[in-house]
């Protein structure tokens, strides 16, 4: 009796994935727990281990083919057994009679298939791309009400209509404050502020998950053809995910920001001493991550994250580290940072970053955590603010340490100063809590022996 192996849901809410590489071939014997395939999702490439022992009878999908989660990918059975067809229930809908019509949207009143021919191609394509709810259905059949609008037409100013289109904003959730409930610019100002196109090139150029600039890559419809001389490169899965998740974060998480300058002469001196002796080199970033953990020890009530069900209280300090890739980024999570030595932490971060760059992180290494550190100091960036990586409650954007004038006891002197900016989720943290946490962090950084303690 053969067993159908299905595409696993390697990450919550991931609906499709691809086999990046088969680690077995037809005829191979596999044992439970043996690496079976590398599965590429939007987020990462993870190893998928065999859950059934037996002989691989057939591989049903090619490497790189993206399919729905739950669809059959392989059949495992006894050697010599003939592979049965995969579960017909999972066969593509197109094979069933009427499958096309069933899959097509239909007009709610007539039940007839909605003919999209009248809609501009760009709009139709965009509608297909938009995963969120009905985006202000201006191209809907006959101008009928969008679903969920009730009987009334939703009034939207021309400006808002255009901006929603350009920024992929779902207006169905927006309440209009203009005359007769018209949605006006003010009603989406916050969303726009979070996703307004910025001059900063792209996330890819930074190691942060959250450099404050991704909206240009937001899943907006390609309303315009590429300008002459430019080409359109289809989004990688990772690029699309970055765009979607950061847009969601910036437009749904109420960010607020606190900035502090840290005097780091002592920190740098201590690091130099550490590196002078030990075999393991300690980076400034290792010390920063460790100081972050120390701050959570000092202000334990800050170690919490928002969920719709309730506030999640964390009992260990799990910190995401933003790691830049050639074109994208991943945020592996280091767990129990408060209990790790600096050298152990440094080794752990280096190891995770290395596998992240190779696309070989495991699923559980990408999940969880309550806080992120994003460091652009190595690029010379003085200061920046970052977008929170949900479900984390905050992210610390770390700039470069540099010699700057400082006032000590009323006298001007030169000191090494590092600027950090905390982005906090106001649903989880209030301003005073964030300020206390940041003060604790600064105290740790400026008294670096406390980091080691």
């Amino acid at each position: 009796m053969s067993t159908t192996i299905r595409m696993p849901e390697v990450l919550a809410n991931v609906t499709e994935a691809a086999v990046q590489k088969w680690l077995v071939a037809p005829g191979d014997e596999v044992a439970v727990g043996q690496p079976f395939a590398e599965i590429e999702t939007e987020k990462a490439v993870v190893e998928f281990a065999a859950e059934t022992a037996g002989t691989v009878l057939e591989l049903l999908v090619g490497e790189g083919d993206s399919i729905d989660v739950g669809a059959p990918i392989a059949i495992v059975g006894e050697a010599g057994e003939v592979a049965l067809p995969a579960d017909p229930a999972a066969a593509p809908a197109a094979e069933g009679s009427g499958g096309v019509a069933a899959a097509a949207p239909s007009d709610p009143e007539s039940g007839a298939p909605v003919l999209e021919a009248a809609a501009p191609v760009a709009d139709a394509a965009a509608a297909a791309q938009t995963s969120a709810g009905p985006v202000e259905a201006t191209t809907g059949a006959g101008g009928a009400s969008a679903p969920g609008e009730g009987s009334g037409r939703r009034f939207v100013s021309p400006l808002v209509r255009r901006l929603a289109r350009e920024h992929g904003i779902d207006l169905s959730t927006v309440t209009g404050s203009g005359p007769d409930g018209r949605i006006v610019r003010r009603d989406i100002q916050a969303l726009l502020d979070g996703s307004a196109p910025a001059a900063t090139p792209a996330v890819a150029a930074t190691p942060a998950p959250a450099a404050d600039a991704p909206a240009a890559a937001a899943p907006a419809r390609p309303a315009q053809p590429a300008p002459e001389g430019a080409t359109v490169v289809p989004h990688s899965r990772m690029r699309a995910t970055i765009a979607r998740r950061l847009t969601e974060s910036k437009s749904s998480v109420p960010h607020f920001y606190l900035t502090a300058d840290c005097r780091v002469d002592a920190l740098l001196e201590m690091r130099a001493q550490l590196n002078a002796g030990g075999q393991v080199k300690v980076s400034v970033n290792d010390l920063v991550v460790k100081a972050v953990a120390g701050a959570f020890v000092d202000v334990p009530e800050a170690n919490r994250t928002w969920s719709d069900e309730g506030m999640v209280i964390h009992d260990s300090v799990d910190i995401g580290i933003a790691v830049s890739l050639d074109d994208g980024l991943v945020v592996p999570v280091v767990r129990g940072v408060e209990g790790l030595s600096v050298s152990a932490l440094g080794g752990r971060i280096a190891e995770l970053a290395g596998r992240g760059r190779e696309g070989r992180l495991k699923l559980d290494e990408l999940e969880g955590g309550s806080f992120t550190v994003s460091n652009l100091g190595m690029f010379g960036t003085q200061s920046f603010s970052a977008i929170i990586n949900p479900p984390h409650a905050g992210i610390l954007a770390v700039g470069a340490a540099s010699a700057r004038p400082v006032v000590v006891d009323g006298a001007l002197e030169v000191g090494q100063v590092m600027t950090v900016t905390l982005s906090a989720d106001h649903r989880a943290w209030d301003g005073a809590l964030a300020a206390r946490w940041l003060a604790a962090f600064v105290a740790r950084i400026e008294h670096p022996l406390s980091i080691l303690a």
């Binding site: 100013s157 808002v160 255009r162 003010r186 009603d187």
Partner: protein, 729 residues
């Protein structure tokens, strides 16, 4: 019993008829030229009617067949620098003038059609057919024939509409020191319309060399002359205006010629205008190839009687009598004329491939549809090289000056620099600068170029139009109140505004029309409009509306330099303002397309002009709105500063258009329309507007205030924009 003494006018009024002796001593060359012209014109118009019957003439074809004697007799001896204009029925006068121009030594009957004449016939026919090679590029057609070089100023489809412009042309001829003259042709139907009577009066008062030539053909379409007037001898008009007048048989070309010789002697010697009434008869109906009797308003017998007096036959008969030609010679003249028309027609028509036995216009001869808007106005290139100065950005020293004094000073400066400038209007030469002092000092400095006019807006506006078309002078016309534009509407909108485009787009109409908005002055319903909206929606006009004295200087200088009609709107509220101008500089321009941003802001874009700019500033201050205020300065479609408006609206996403006057004729309507189409995706709310009420402002102070907009209404408008912006403030 009161004593009664009979009064007589001093104006001569005579009936002139030829005698056999006149015919005997007439110059044979004159008679030959008249015969040749008569036949060419007749053959031409017969061909036009043939083509009309084939459906190839779009629109009416008003033939003058039967009436050629009046045109040929009066034009045959004119100079090219003499000018004519005429009415909807003007083929014969246009051709007579064009033929006289290209054949200045007369016509040779044995070799009638020279290459130049063939060209005239073809170009005229092409124009009537609406083709690109016509004199007006096909725009004018049968009713708007213009050839400036030949002295054909342009025929006119508005009855009586040409009289004021002919008068203006005569003013230019006189002022330039020439002995040239102008003839304005019109029919019996126009002999009692206001423009003609106003023009007769003006020409007589100012002794201008213009002949009002009445072709009395007895019918205004189907209305017979007896039904229209008490005295059917229409040359009687001269008695009312002190104009010497001749009545003559128009079917006798020599009689017309002799009358014109006498009239020309009066006009060329400074004796002022003349009237010639020629009794003529059109053999056909008002238009088209059917006789009037077919429509029942006259009898076939009457038509036959008049056809017996055909001017072509009359001249031929007299010439044969003198042995100057024989029957065969006359037949040859006719044959040459018809052959010339065959040749002209062949150039323009071809067999219709879709309809057996039919002809069609050669398709390649039509104008390019892209030509439709070319020449509505000039391209403004005449301003290139002029010195531009933006007063609001200049740190030059200032001189305190009341606004109204700046109006007078810049005009005085320009008149001193440019002898072409002529200022005309009611009372502008008296009262220390007219009713408001806006022309102060001009009459003293330039008495021959500051013309206080009779109260006849149609005549003096059209006189300005005639000056502008002539080009030797730069007319500046003043309407004491804007509402008077309705009195002069034909000249303002049908003539001056359309002339350049209608006649082909090349001949410019440089004219400045000044007027003042007087809302708040208590002059009531018929004096207090803002004319901007009406002018902005009429073709051809540019509009400026300065809000400061320094702007006025630059805008007026640009208006005077432009080759287009420009309306300059002033406001009585501004006149008394203690303003300032650039010290020692009245010579810069502010070119079209330059609005001024009076205040920068991000909350809304407030667009205004003239005196309302100040009210907007007050309202912005009172409300604390972070409004951007644009002072348009140039208001018309071609001159509007779209770049400034667009940049502002893209920033603010909200627009408030502010003006003072009544809703109906308001300016903001068309602008709001343009903005919503150009900037729809940038608008966060409807384009909001501040205007006056629906009614015209009344005389009662309270009702006048209620009918117009001032600061309080702008405040309300700003609040409306804020309400529409939604959100919590």
């Amino acid at each position: 019993m009161p004593q009664r003494r009979r009064l007589d006018t001093t104006a001569e009024w005579v009936e002139l008829t030829t005698t056999a002796a006149d015919w005997r001593k007439a110059d044979p060359a004159l008679l030959a030229t008249m015969l040749g012209q008569l036949h060419l014109i007749r053959a031409f118009e017969e061909r036009v009617l043939d083509l009309a019957a084939e459906g190839l003439v779009h629109g009416p074809a008003h033939s003058s067949i039967g009436q050629e004697g009046g045109a040929v007799g009066s034009i045959v001896s004119l100079r090219s620098s003499d000018a004519v204009n005429g009415s909807h029925r003007g083929h014969h006068q246009f051709l007579a003038k064009a033929l006289a121009h290209v054949a200045q030594n007369g016509l040779q009957l044995d070799a009638l059609v020279t290459a130049d004449i063939q060209t005239v016939l073809q170009k005229t026919l092409a124009e009537i057919l609406g083709l690109a090679q016509g004199y007006c590029r096909g725009r004018g057609g049968s009713m708007h024939l213009q050839w400036f070089e030949a002295g054909a100023l342009g025929t006119n489809a508005i009855v009586g509409g040409g009289a004021p412009m002919a008068t203006g042309n005569a003013w230019a001829q006189k002022q330039a020191g020439t002995t040239d003259l102008t003839i304005n042709y019109f029919g019996d139907g126009a002999a009692q319309i206001g423009s003609v009577l106003e023009s007769m009066n003006l020409a007589a008062a100012w002794k201008l060399p213009v002949c009002f030539f009445i072709e009395n053909n007895l019918y205004a379409v189907s209305t017979r002359i007896e039904e229209a007037v008490a005295d059917t001898r229409l040359s009687v008009r001269g008695q009312g205006f002190g104009i010497p007048s001749w009545r003559v048989d128009g079917m006798d070309p020599l009689a017309v010629h002799l009358a014109m010789e006498e009239a020309a002697a009066v006009m060329r010697s400074g004796g002022g205008p003349t009237i010639i009434e020629a009794e003529v008869y059109r053999f056909f109906h008002q238009n088209g190839p059917y006789p009037g009797s077919a429509f029942g308003y006259r009898t076939k017998e009457e038509e036959e009687e008049w056809k017996g007096r055909d001017p072509l036959d009359r001249v031929a008969r007299e010439m044969i009598k003198r042995g100057l030609i024989d029957e065969a010679g006359v037949a040859s003249v006719r044959a040459q004329s018809v052959a010339a028309m065959d040749a002209a027609t062949a150039e323009l028509l071809e067999a219709d491939p879709d309809k057996q036995g039919r002809r069609r216009i050669r398709p390649e001869l039509w104008p390019d549809p892209e030509f439709v808007n070319v020449g509505v106005r000039g391209d403004g290139s005449e301003l290139e090289g002029m010195r531009v100065l933006e007063p609001s950005a200049s740190d030059a020293a200032r001189r305190p000056m009341k606004f109204v004094d700046a109006v007078a000073e810049v005009m005085g400066r320009r008149m001193a620099e440019d002898e072409r400038i002529v200022v005309l209007g009611e009372d502008i030469h008296r009262l220390k600068g007219g009713t408001n002092g806006a022309t102060k000092g001009l009459a003293d400095a330039h008495p021959d170029r500051v013309l206080g006019t009779p109260i006849s807006e149609n005549a003096f506006m059209g006189l300005g139009g005639g000056l502008a078309l002539d080009g030797r002078y730069r007319p500046v016309v003043e309407f004491m109140y804007p509402d008077f534009m309705w009195v002069a509407a034909d000249q303002v909108f049908n003539q001056v505004g359309k002339a350049r485009h209608m006649f082909g787009g090349d001949n410019p109409v440089p004219l400045v029309l000044r007027t003042k908005v007087a809302m708040g002055s208590g002059y009531g319903s018929q004096h207090l409009m803002d004319p901007a909206g009406v002018f902005a929606t009429s073709p051809g006009w540019r509009i400026v509306a300065p809000s400061t004295a320094a702007d006025y200087v630059g805008l007026m200088n640009a208006a005077l330099a432009l080759q287009d009609p420009v309306l300059v709107i002033e406001h009585v509220d501004l006149y008394a303002e203690k303003d300032e101008v650039i010290a020692g500089d009245l010579d810069y321009i502010i070119p079209p397309g330059t609005a001024a941003v009076r205040r920068e802001g991000s909350e809304m874009t407030v667009i205004s002009y003239l005196s309302m700019v100040k009210h907007c500033l007050e309202a912005i201050e009172q409300t604390g709105a972070d409004a951007e205020l644009i002072d348009l300065r140039w208001l018309d479609r071609a001159s509007l500063d779209w770049a400034t408006i667009e940049a502002s609206v893209k920033k603010t996403n909200a627009v408030l258009i502010v003006e003072q006057g009544a809703q109906g004729t308001s300016y903001g309507g068309w602008l709001a329309d343009e903005i919503q189409r150009r900037l729809f995706d940038w608008l966060d709310q409807p384009v909001q507007r501040v205007t006056g009420a629906e009614s015209s402002p009344s005389i009662s102070r309270i009702l006048e205030r209620a009918a117009i907009a001032r600061t309080e209404e702008v405040v309300a408008g700003i609040e409306t924009v804020r309400r529409n912006a939604g959100g919590a403030r």
